[in-house]
């Protein structure tokens, strides 16, 4: 079974946004949202030795995704190849997964009322194509491949050339988007785009902490009540009301 990963070479990325455009047109992403986008990182170092870079953000298809357990209906799931996907037939657009994602990779598509995000162009992969962003990148800054295949370019970048994950000690959930580049590039990424702690939406907090207990208590109490009455009925014997 393949284990897919994306590697972004920060030394090659020129911030042209071709990947953003390709993705938006491929997936009909509404204005104001994106499945992948390129952001400037700012500058590090002192003049004249300055370094800048770009952060290409998208779903990281984490090994231990926080969005999957957060989804009440199980619309968000991880398939056998490790791709985290959204089943639109099950999604009700509650936004629980959007809050749970440390990388801000998800959004609710208001046109369809469902959550949307990068799925490594799963339907293109099934047809033997590369993801749209990879196919369109003019600088070959995006590399997609199978980490189980040692001959793949992605494997080489990750295991031979030290491409790394954007993780912190608090948020280490095994993202499968890797970044290759100089230490300065890494510094820039971590300074501006370190993953945030996963959040739980307010109704979700109330549901899991309070309402679940309350409903269990209420149903349990009435169940117990009728069970007591039932056993009393069995022990005392039925008294027909006509008597």
């Amino acid at each position: 079974m393949p284990r897919f990963a994306m590697v972004i070479d920060q030394e090659r990325c020129v911030g042209c946004q071709s990947c953003t455009v390709a993705c938006k047109s491929e997936w009909d992403v509404p204005n104001g949202f994106a499945r992948t986008r390129v952001r400037q990182t700012g500058v590090v170092g002192s003049f004249p030795k300055l370094t800048t870079s770009f952060y290409v953000s998208q779903c990281n298809h984490c090994d231990r995704p926080t969005c999957v357990p957060a989804c009440p209906t199980g619309a968000t799931y991880q398939d056998k190849t490790g791709i985290v996907r959204v089943n639109r037939d099950l999604c009700i657009g509650c936004g629980a997964c959007v809050a749970a994602c440390p990388y801000g990779a998800r959004y609710v598509n208001a046109k369809i009322g469902k959550v949307d995000k990068c799925d490594f162009c799963a339907s293109r992969l099934e047809n033997g194509l590369q993801p749209a962003c990879v196919a369109t990148c003019p600088a070959h800054a995006k590399v997609f491949g199978n980490l189980e295949d040692s001959s793949s370019e992605a494997f080489q970048l990750v295991y031979r050339q030290g491409a790394h994950r954007v993780e912190t000690t608090q948020v280490a959930i095994g993202p499968n988007v890797y970044y290759a580049g100089k230490p300065e590039h890494t510094e820039l990424l971590m300074a501006g785009f370190a993953p945030q702690l996963p959040r739980t939406i307010a109704p979700g907090k109330i549901w899991s902490s309070l309402l679940n207990k309350f409903v269990f208590l209420a149903v349990g109490a009435t169940f117990l009540g009728q069970a007591v009455a039932f056993f009393r009925q069995l022990s005392v014997g039925e008294k027909q009301f006509e008597d």
């Binding site: 357990p69 957060a70 989804c71 009440p72 209906t73 199980g74 089943n87 037939d89 099950l90 009700i92 657009g93 509650c94 936004g95 629980a96 959007v98 609710v108 208001a110 009322g113 469902k114 739980t200 939406i201 307010a202 109704p203 979700g204 109330i206 549901w207 899991s208 309402l211 679940n212 309350f214 409903v215 269990f216 209420a218 149903v219 109490a221 009435t222 169940f223 009540g225 009728q226 007591v228 009455a229 039932f230 009393r232 009925q233 039925e238 008294k239 027909q240 009301f241 006509e242």
Partner: protein, 278 residues
């Protein structure tokens, strides 16, 4: 005129009881009987599928084997959700038809007062009923209307929960008002259903298992209860029915001819109060 109708329940002779056990009183219109069982079926299906749809480890309450079984029955969870929505929409449509066409008969303030308005007798009934179940009293239950206080409480709960369940269901299905409201709708949907289920525990037990209420269960099939049961369990309603019957009987019984007024009275009728001729 027949004998006077009792105002308080009194002990019956065995002959009276036997006669009353043979008499039927209509309690439910056939439309209500059908609606009840449609509603019960809907609830069963919606509870079964709804429980199978909450799979997040943070929120789920059904065991894993149940989730897998339900998914197996429907082929996929997406199909289960489609089914849940289809049944829910049918439920809403049927109730909407009922609300529109039965508005004056069933949703009128006076009718609702009968169904959910609790009076002093009802409050005492609730206390004594609880003590009776616990075997702590021998006090007789106070007389009740067409629905007893327990049924009224359950109706109150259901009447408040059903609009919430319907609106939150529609909100989730059609993604009304955006993400934040949909998220709250999801939680409210669960909460309102949870409360009704806690009431259902007692409703189902009382209706289907509790021996003294068996006639109430059969009345949800036949639409009628026997008079003896009505007398013992819903005395105030039994009296209303009897008073109504009495009124109908009085209306149908030909009234004795009005006596001809005497010539003196006739003269009186034909004259103005001041005695002047017309």
């Amino acid at each position: 005129m027949g004998t006077a109708i009792q105002t308080v329940p009194t002990p019956l002779t065995s002959d009276q009881a036997a006669a009353m056990a043979q008499q039927q009183i209509k309690k439910h219109h056939v439309a209500i009987v059908l609606l009840h069982w449609f509603n019960a079926t809907t609830w069963l299906l919606e509870l079964a599928t709804g429980a199978g749809l909450i799979v997040s480890p943070y929120y789920r309450f059904a065991p894993i084997w149940y989730l897998q079984m339900m998914e197996g029955i429907f082929g996929s969870r997406a199909n289960m959700l489609r089914f849940h929505i289809a049944v829910g929409l049918t439920w809403i449509t049927v109730f909407l038809v009922y609300a529109i066409f039965g508005f004056r008969n069933y949703l009128h303030t006076e009718v609702l007062q009968h169904e959910i308005g609790l009076d002093a007798d009802d409050l005492r009934w609730l206390k004594i009923r609880t003590l009776l179940l616990l075997g702590r009293t021998d006090e007789p239950l106070p007389p009740q209307g067409v629905y007893n206080a327990g049924q009224k409480l359950f109706a109150l709960l259901v009447y408040s929960a059903i609009p919430v369940i319907m609106l939150t269901g529609l909100t989730m299905t059609f993604h009304w008002f955006g993400t934040v409201i949909v998220a709250w709708a999801m939680v409210l949907h669960y909460f309102a259903v949870g409360l009704v289920v806690s009431g259902l525990m007692i409703h189902v037990y009382m209706g289907a298992v509790f021996p003294e209420e068996k006639p109430a269960f059969y009345s949800m099939i036949t639409g009628v209860v026997n008079e003896l049961y009505a007398y013992h369990h819903h005395f105030k309603w039994w009296r209303e029915v009897k008073v109504q019957e009495q009124r109908w009987r009085d209306e149908l019984t030909p009234k004795p001819e009005v006596e001809e007024p005497s010539p003196a009275e006739k003269a009186d009728l034909n004259s103005e109060p001041d005695g002047a001729p017309r």
